[in-house]
Structures are given as structure tokens and as C-alpha cells.
Amino acid sequence: MADRVKILTQHVNVPGIETFEVYRKHGGYASVEKALKTMSPDDVTEEVKKSGLRGRGGAGFPTGMKWSFVDKKSGKPRYLVCNGDESEPGTFKDRYLMSKIPHLLVEGMITSSFAIGANLSYIYIRGEMMYVVRIIQKAIDEARAAGFLGKNILGTGYDLDLHVTCGAGAYICGEETALIESLEGKRGNPRIKPPFPAIAGLYGNPTVVNNVESIASVPYIVNNGGDEYAKIGVGRSTGTKLISASGHIKNPGVYEIELGLPVDEFLNSPEYLGGSWKSDKKIKAIIAGGSSVPILPLELFLKNAAGEPRLMTYESLSDGGFATGTMLGSGGFFAMDEDTCIVKNTWNLSRFYHHESCGQCSPCREGTGWLEKVLHAIESGHGKQSDIDLLVDIAKKIEGNTICPLGDAAAWPVGSAIRHFRHEFEWHVANPKLAAEPGAVYRA
């Protein structure tokens, strides 16, 4: 086994790492000392830009660039908000990181807040993870007691208040403007952009919203320099990525991989997912980046349309566009074996998006309901041939026609499932009685 680069999870299994004392002994909070004492806020931003770090929540937007958009001229207070509303089906890496090594996030928040010039910052965690809120609260209290938060941190003159707060059950609050609304004590309805949060975010003030994993990557970048970070990975996919792996694989869990790892190795090596959960059941399909990204048949996941092996990078997974590719997304990776009914799986995910639509935009509010109902009809043996094209039509009419990307997220799984597994949908329509039986699956 080669030596694997680990920058986020290197110390997760050290006993007591959740405490300030042990975390500090393992080099914790060095980035705060380095940044506050020897760098300017712009220096820190510059290193993050050089690192090539891309937003780890799913969109993959360059983090340093996002920081540089923040309005520093208006004189308004600036805020850093950490998005810990992890809710994309298949994704559980942020929960893992926050509960295992909470101080890494707190350290990243201090260093990053300094970079954008925030004196008040928040970590917003989904309401279901109240036990994680408790863990983070304890870490914040410890950091404050040690002089890393509050007034005049380490005697540098920099002040920062950091608080953890929670949601109450809403996938949509993972969208940054919905999260801001929720943080203001309102329904999580996404805002129309522009203005972007960098200009008018929380309480109308300039705000940066970053994913937990993105923020947790900042200490390494500051300690080692952006160039060192950029050496990890391949091309524009720099650094490491946490992948949450689940479904029909042998070794479910969270893996920190170097971007550029061959997908075949990731899926099949015993070091990682170990292949199918059952030796006599082949993997049929993969959702590589959270439930929103296009589903791919195993063959197209392993190799692109040209027959070249894919890598775990933003570029390689999206090679071929939506016709033959997918997305790295949030790194919520789940595998389905040959006994999985793709129609049922698609219906299940559509039910999720219907449930989670905030209801603001009619294409999404109505469309997600239609998708769920039509898919359920097909799955339960009441579908018509024309329903398959109807689904494609509904998905197309949602996509791109809503304020936030939830509409796209609901449309893509349906479009891709029909694109690659149309035969399963047709089989359901042609064999309604068989299809309606529990556990019914199309077999070639």
C-alpha cells in the first residue's frame, strides 16, 4: 500500500483528538498563529487561491475566488458562515469530520474569518445533528478559553466571535442563500441572485458561505502554502477529497482520497470500497457525487465513452457531459448491485426532492410532485409507455427554470436514469403485474 496523503483525516483516530489539548499537541491551531502573526488577510486569500481548492459542498467553485468577491469597501460588517447542513443523499463526510475532529473546523473558521475580515462567524449545522452541535460547541468553548477566540486573539488585535447554530430539517438550507434566510430565523427560501452573498448576505451584509470540508482544508493550505496543496491531485482537481461511500459495497464509510485516484481502484481495491457487498452480486450502477448527479451504468463509470479509465477528479467524472458522464459533486458515492430496481431507486429519490422542494418556484414545486407520482405509477405497475417521455419532458421543464439548483438536482437523476436505463422503465410498463411485485427487478 502506497503512502496516502491525508490532510483532513490524518489525526482522526488519535485518542482524545476531539479535545483542545490533544489537538494542539498534534500541531493544531498553527495556521491561526501563522496567519494572524505573520500574514495579512490578503496573503491568506492569495494562498487559498494558489491552492486551487474548490468548494467541497458540491458546486466546486474556487474557494479563494469566492473570498476575493467579498465586499471590503462598503465598511459593513463581514461574516463567514460555515455550511454544515449536509443533507445530500449519499453524503455524510461533514458529520464525520465535525464529530471526529471538531477543532479542525474551528481552526479553519478562525483562519478563514481572518482572511475575509470577519469579526463574527457562524457554523450552521443541520438540526438533526444536534449531537454534533454539542461537540462543536464544546470545541468553540475550549478554543475561546485558550485565547483563540474573542477579543485581541493571541495579542494580534484581531477579534472574532464564533458561534454554532442549527437548522430544523430542510435539505434546501444547504443552498447558501436559503441557509442565510434560515440563519435570520426565517423559512429556508432561496434568494434571487444577484445580489450574491459576497455583496449582500446575512443581515444584508457581505457574507461568505463555505462548506465544512472546504474550511477544514484551509489550515493545511496556510501551514504549507497554496503551492504545496496544489501539488496534490491532478490538474484543476487539486488536493484531497472526502468521499462518503455507501450502498452495495463491502466497506461503507468516509475516505479521504487524493484527487486523481483511478475510479476502478477506489471501487474495487480492498483498501477502499472492496467492490460489491456480496461476491455473487455484480455492481450495476453508480451515483458518484450525491443523489443529484447523473446515475451511470458501471461500465460508463469505470471508463468514459472513449474507453479511457476514469479518475476521481472533477474533470474526469464529468467527461462526456451529461450524455455519458456525471459529476464529482459532494462526493456522496453510492453503488447499486444487479438486484436494484433503477425505477424504484429513481422514484425514491424523486420523493426526496418533492419533499424537500421549498415551494417557491412553480416548476420545482409542481414538477417534483409530478415526477414522484409518475415514477410511482410506473414502479407500481400503473404506467403507460408515454409516461416515460412525460418524465423526460417534466425534467427538462424544471431544469434551469428555478431560483436555486434544487430544481436541477431533482431533474438530473430522472433524466439520467431514463437515458441509461430506459429498458428498465419500458419493462415495467410492458410487465405491470411483474413490476408491481415486491423486489421486482428487470433482468437482461
Partner: protein
């Protein structure tokens, strides 16, 4: 005997201290931001659901209009607008959990309790709900009860958890 219909809704001193703490996290005048946390607390304090009277009480505390509380309470799935069982068993049923047997766990639990999904046992102890992704897909099937996650569920685990809940008869609600 006290008259329950006119019993004043009021947070315990411990809960009041938490309310102050939640409000203190936000800038002056932005106390409405604390509503999400306060509603969690209110639900735990007042019989596990948010009645109109409880919501009005929260509005009073925050000095906002009752409609502003209703708007929030009706949006988020963790707030219950009707009475629930003492233990609400929320089994994740989305994508990966479904692939690893969530439906079977829901069916088994319901059968064992003699109720349908979404219903509450006649003694008011248990409600079973199928809920959407709880971000624990790698430990599927799983469920949330109160503030705790219970993972890698099997029929045997459900059996022993139900026994444990009946014995303890107290839901964990230690809010941070």
C-alpha cells in the same frame, strides 16, 4: 387540582437560560435568528409538539408576530404540529438507506408495535416515521430518536432498543 386549560405556558429556568444563550449568539436586534433553536427547545419542553399556544409564547419571548413563528414552524420537518408519541422513531428511507433495508426495518418496527408508518401506539409511547436522508448512509439502515442516531439497524437491534426505551421511559433532550 390545577386547571390545565388555563395553565400558563412558561419555560423552565434551565430552558430560559438556554433561550438567553441562543439570543446572545446574534447581533443586537437580530434576536429573531434564535427562533430555530428556541422552537426545538419549546417542542422538547412542551409535550413534544408545537401547539398554537406554544408558538404564540415563542412569539412573545422574541417580541415578533405570531405569524412569523407559524411561518417557520410549518417549514421545517423537525417541528411537529400535532401530538406525537413519547419516542418518535424516525427511520431514514432515502436512497442508500433504502438500498440497505430501510423498508424492512420500518415494516418490522411497525408490525412489532402494531401500527402503520406515521401512526402512534395507543399508549402514546411510540410513533414510527419514514424520514428523508439523515446523512448516515454509510451506517444504513439507521434511525434518529430524540437527539440520538442509532445505526446499522437489524431486527434484533430494534427489539433491544424498544425494550430499552420502554424501560427508560425518558427521551434524551440535553440541548447544547
Amino acid at each position: 387540582m390545577s386547571d390545565t386549560t388555563t395553565k400558563k405556558i412558561e419555560f423552565s429556568p434551565e430552558a430560559k437560560a438556554l433561550v438567553e444563550k441562543y439570543i446572545s449568539k446574534f447581533p443586537e436586534g437580530k434576536h429573531k435568528s434564535a427562533i430555530i433553536s428556541i422552537l426545538h427547545l419549546a417542542q422538547a419542553e412542551f409535550n413534544g409538539w408545537l401547539s398554537p399556544e406554544v408558538m404564540d409564547y415563542v412569539a412573545e419571548i422574541l417580541n415578533i408576530k405570531p405569524i412569523e413563528v407559524y411561518e417557520v414552524a410549518t417549514f421545517y420537518s423537525q417541528y411537529y404540529l400535532k401530538p406525537q408519541g413519547k419516542y418518535v422513531l424516525e427511520v431514514c428511507r432515502t436512497g442508500p438507506c433504502c438500498l440497505r433495508g430501510a423498508e424492512d426495518i420500518i415494516e418490522y418496527t411497525c408490525k412489532k408495535l402494531g401500527i402503520k408508518e406515521g401512526e402512534t401506539t395507543p399508549d402514546g409511547m411510540f410513533t414510527v416515521k419514514g424520514v428523508e436522508c439523515l446523512a448516515a448512509c454509510g451506517e444504513a439502515p439507521m434511525m434518529q430518536v430524540g437527539l440520538d442516531y442509532h445505526v446499522d439497524l437489524t431486527h434484533e437491534k430494534i427489539d433491544s432498543l424498544l425494550d430499552k426505551f420502554k424501560l427508560e421511559n425518558k427521551v434524551s433532550r440535553a440541548f447544547p
